[in-house]
Structure formats: C-alpha cells, structure tokens
Amino acid sequence: MNISVIDYGASNLQSVGNALEKLGVSFDVITTPEGLKGTDKVILPGVGAAGSAMQALMARGFAAALPNLTVPILGVCLGLQLFARMSEEDNTTCLGILPGDVKRLRTELKVPHMGWNRVRLLKDSPLTKGIPDGSFFYFVNSYYLPVGEFTTGETIYDVPLTAIAQRGNFYGTQFHPEKSAEWGMKILDNFCRLSR
C-alpha cells in the first residue's frame, strides 16, 4: 500500500508523517499531481489560511486533480475545509467536493476553538469504526464547516460544527488526528486500512 501526503507548502507535515510512521505505514510526500498516479490513498494536511492554501493547490495543479480522485483521500483541519464550496476566510473558492460554506466562528467563547472537544457520531463511517461515541479529539480552528448532509460526526462549540465528514471516497476531520492520542491514531489507522 502506498499513501501520498500532499505537500503544498502551506503546512507542517512532520506530525502527520510521525503518526503514519508510528502506525508502520509507508508514505510519500508529493508536490505535484503526478505523484497521485498509482497511489492507494491521499492525505491533505492543512495548517494556515484558506486563501493561500487554495492558491498553492491551484499553482501546483492539485485543485483540478483532487475532485476527480477515486481513491480515498483524507483532509485534515484546513484540509477538510478546502473540500467545501467556499470559505469565508479570505473569501476563497474551495474545491467544491462538499456542499456548504466554511464560516468564521462568531461566538462569545474564545476563538480559536483550541483544545480537546467531544465528537458526537451522527452516522456510521469506516473512518470511525471502533471509536466510542463522544470521544475527545484535539481541535485548533477559527473557521468551521456547518453540519450538513455529509457530516458523520459533530462537535459543539457554541454552534454545531462538522468534526468528521465523508462523501464517497472523500473523508475529512476538523480535528488533528495526529495530535489526538489513542482515538486520533485509530482514525488514521482506519483510514490507512480502507479498501479502494
């Protein structure tokens, strides 16, 4: 099995890489869509702002390639938000894989939403197999995707937000599985074990 982790210059890949190594999974870091050929799975990490991330994905040719992927792809944090139609952050047109628009968290609570929060599982997904409903995951986000048709797990931070989403072969988590201890590792392991 071969996993491709997309490097689009916007994010720190070290933590995701360390987690995959810990799981005993081999992976390649790819910088062009050529790297997607023949891959079994793709991970789209993300730290940073939506505008510059989309620009980088477009400049490197990923923006056109990703929506047509047929293998499983996991978007993490900003990676999940980039699957949406639009993001209020920098007023960015995103990949349009998931309906719905990413919004800024407007709340009296502290922003960013940072720390361990509970995820309520709404639908079965192979990504959350073996994970107890109500488990905690580590979040760092100032923007969020509202709960929609493809939300499989939600988290409450004043408003309900999409914590986990799945649409066909497209998977995403708003939290950082690579920083979410046992259950985060389980999510990554589940993803790596998905069949095509």
Binding site: N12, Q14, G100, D101, W116, N117, P146, Y157, D158, A181
Partner: protein, 490 residues
C-alpha cells in the same frame, strides 16, 4: 446565541399579533417605556417592528422608532415597511443598528445588493416568511410563491448573510419554532435569526444547538412564560472543550530533571519516554521547559523535540531560551504544537507579533512569571531573579494584543510551595484576556487543581512535582476533577 426581545408597534402602541393577523392584536403598552425596561433587564439588542408600516407599505411609526433608537444604548434592529432603499438608508443613517426587509414587499431584489454594498451585509437583514414551505416574493406583475431553499440560494448569491426566519403559521402561537428549517438555513451558511413560536427555554436551547445566531422572543416575554434572564441563560454558549491537565517536564542537557532547587537536580529520565508515559496516563498536553544553562545544552533541545514528536501524539509546548522566529520555526517544524516565550518577549515584544504572524496565534504561548508587589503583581524574569516594572495583568493583555494565543501564568510566590495556586492572580488575568490561561505554580493537592480551574477560571493546570514524585497520577487527578463536575477528557 443572541436573544432579541421584540417590540411590535401598531398605532404607536406595543402590541402582539397571532399568526400575523391584525384582528388578533393584544395591546401591551408604551413602546418607549418598554424598550428602556428591556434594556435595564439586560437585553443586548431589540427588534422593533412598525406594524402599520408592514401593513401599509410605508413607515408610520418612524418618529417613535427613532426615539427608541436614541433612548437606548443597545443596538436596535428595525423592520416594517422598509421596501425602498431610501427608507432603509434613513433608519441606518439614524441610529438603527440594522434593518429588516421582506421579500414579499421588495419592489426590486437588487436593492438588497445595493444596500449590502453600501452598509455591509451585517446591517441588512432579509426576512424569510415561510408559509407551507413557500415564500411569497413580489415579482414584476404579481406575487409568486417560491420554495424557500431556492430563494435562500438566490439571496446568498446577492451577498445576504443575515436571515430572519419566521414560520408564519407558528408566530405568536406559543408553540415551537420550525426547527428543521432553522437547521437547514444555518447549514447553508446564514446567520439565522429565528422568530415565531419561540415560547420557552427548551426552544431556545434547541435553537442554540441547531446553530441559530439569534432568537426573537415576543409574546412569551410579554405573557411572562419566561423572563429575559431565563432566556439568556438558556442561550448561553455551550463549549464542550475539556479543561486540560498539563504535566511540565524540565529538561537539562537533553534529560528530564527534577529538584527543589537548581543545585540539587536529579536526572529522572528520557523526555520522549516520560512524555509517552504521561500521554498514556491521560495528559492532555505536555510542556517541555529547557533549563539548560549552556549553548550546547540548548542545542540538544532540537533533537529532544524531534524524538518526542516521534513518540508523543498529543500536543506539546516547548519553552526555555527561545528568542527568535527562526528557533520557533525549527521547533514547530520538528513537531512541537506551540512554543513558549518569556524573557525574550519582555525584552522585545515584537517577537510575539512576528511569531504569531508566521505560525498563527495558536502556536505562540507567552509565559509570565509574576510575583506580588504591593497590591498588584509584577513580571519577573530569569526564573524570578530579575524584577521588572511591568504589571503582570497589563502585560498579559499586551501579549494578547500582540498576538499571543495562550498565557502560561506562574506565581513565583506559590511556585514550589505546594500550598495552592495564586487564585486571585489567575482570576484577574483570566478576566483581563480572552485567550486561554494556564495555571502554574503551587499545586499541592488535587483540590488545588480544582480551585485553579473553577475559582481561578484557568483553562488548564500545569503540574510538575505533584506528578513527578508519584503522589498522584494523572488518572487520579482527572477522575477526581471529573467527579467534581469539571469537564475532563477521560
């Protein structure tokens, strides 16, 4: 979620209609007096509707509404009879915080886009009045009935962000709102103002859970089905975030050490191995503090971080001797979640801003060592040996303004004393900033942790010796705190 009490005005009097029918009116009194009363009851916004205007197409109670706007100091949302850009402009130019315009009444949908360009989307509210799933929209010749989803998409394309949703069949009925539509509109990305049938605290709780931005309450308030205070209480934002327990490990020349004073340090082990152990016991986060005195010692921290990141899959912060953006970059790229700066931030506060710009505020922790001096607290540097003239609370605020994402607050008076955290210091700093505050210094019992997280309002408690000497395990601490009703990741 914001609770907005409604004042509906008909012929200069405050009234309530049932299902929007004018024959069903009940009169409740003087609108101006009522507005002032609501403000003193703690309302944070008012929703004022000119019912004559809504019925006849032109404002009839404008003078009165303008008087309300200037009589109260809270924002006022105005609706009723706003069918032309000039009418909206007049209200917005006066003291209305935002105006509400309806689709049924609009002569020209383009005027919404025009107003949004002129005043910004947050001041223009479009009322979506649904009856049997349809919205009446005025067209060129006659009124057409559109599916609300279709119309919502059209409004979105015109830049509308604020939607006032009323299910006409439920308005003033004291039943319950149409939750399903609220959920849908919120999922489409609108800030939904729910109106109609918001009759009890259960409905408010439900609306909050569904992601409504605000709820308008009218009849339920007038008829004392609930008080404004009860409504506000039910609307208070829910955070599922757990409070954090954060073991702190002192690292010297690449090894974890412990000791009462700097002279009697004992090596207790390898940072990655200990980090892994604490993580397995349920630590929510770790702090590695480099206390190396030498340049060589400091250089070993980078390989420590590299090793830790391969073994520890919870967030960890690295602090001690960090004084440049380049050092931050190296540590974060090796896998640290946050970096903590202390002395360097005081010497050059622009470092906070530079770090926050480069890596995001969530990655920048400002550590403050505070000691009571007179009636306040002063910031101390270099492990408490150097006094500054900086007030600790003012410095915490400045750090936040400059881009810090978290404050790690150590009481030098309490540190090592095991007599409890400095609760007053914690509370004062927590009240002064809107970023998380991590309590440090003084934990001697599990009850001390509880007090820091409750009375001290801290978001996290840093613990060193309490865990290192095996008095309590992290599991003991978290079980105790959870039992005491504190939200814990267990």
């Amino acid at each position: 979620m914001l609770i907005i009490p409604a004042i509906d005005i008909l012929d200069g009097k405050c009234v309530r209609l049932t299902r929007g029918e004018y024959v069903t009116q009940k009169i409740y009194g003087d609108p101006l007096k009522f507005a002032k009363q609501l403000e003193s009851d703690g309302a944070r916004m008012l929703h004022v509707v000119d019912l004559n205007g809504a019925r006849d197409g032109a404002p009839a109670n404008r003078e009165l509404i303008m008087r309300i706007c200037s009589a109260v100091s809270i924002p006022v949302e105005v609706g009723g009879g706003i069918r032309k850009a000039e009418t909206a402009r007049a209200y917005l130019a006066a003291e209305a915080a935002r105006v509400v315009t309806g689709t049924r009444a609009m002569d020209d949908m383009d005027f919404v886009g025009e107003l949004i360009r002129e005043f910004g989307a947050s001041r223009i509210v479009v009322a979506l009045e649904i009856k049997g799933g349809k919205v009446a929209v005025k067209g060129w010749q006659s009124t057409v009935h559109k599916d609300y989803r279709e119309l919502a998409r059209e409004l979105k394309a015109r830049g509308v962000t604020e939607l006032l949703f009323t299910d006409v069949e439920r308005d003033g009925t004291l039943t319950e709102p149409n939750f399903e539509v609220v959920r849908e509109l919120a999922a489409l990305g609108f800030n939904v103002i729910a109106s109609g049938g918001v009759s009890d605290v259960q409905a408010i709780r439900k609306l909050r859970e569904l992601g409504a931005a605000s709820a308008i309450i009218g009849k339920a308030l007038y008829e004392e089905k609930m008080t404004l205070g009860e409504a506000e209480e039910a609307a208070r934002p829910l955070s599922g975030l757990a409070k954090r327990i954060v073991p702190c490990l002192d690292v010297k020349d690449g090894k974890v050490v412990k000791g009462i004073s700097f002279e009697n340090l004992q090596i207790v082990g390898d940072p990655a191995a200990l980090g892994k152990k604490y993580s397995a016991e349920g630590a929510d986060e770790l702090v590695f503090l480099d206390i190396s005195a030498s340049k060589e010692g400091r250089e070993t921290m980078f390989s420590v971080v590299e090793q830790v990141a391969k073994e520890v899959f919870i967030p960890f912060t690295v602090g001690g001797g960090i004084s440049s953006v380049e050092q931050m970059r190296r540590l974060l790229h090796l896998g640290a979640e946050k970096v903590s700066i202390n002395t360097a931030a005081v010497k050059d506060p622009s470092l906070i801003t530079a770090g926050s710009k480069a890596f995001g505020s969530q990655a920048i922790v400002v550590a403050i060592d505070a000691k009571r001096v007179g009636t306040g607290w002063k910031v101390f540097l270099r492990g408490g040996s150097e006094e500054t003239q900086l007030d600790a609370i003012a410095w915490a605020k400045e750090a936040e303004t400059r881009g810090a994402g978290e404050i790690l607050l150590t009481s030098m008076d309490k540190d090592g004393q095991k007599s409890g955290y400095d609760i007053e210091l914690l509370r004062r700093v927590s009240e002064a900033v809107r970023i998380p505050v991590v309590a440090s210094g003084g934990a001697g019992s599990l009850e001390d942790l509880k007090r820091a997280l409750t009375d001290g309002s801290a978001d996290a408690a840093l613990v060193a010796s309490l865990f290192h000497y095996g008095e309590y395990s992290i599991t003991d601490a978290k079980e105790y705190l959870a039992k005491e009703g504190i939200s814990m990741r267990t």
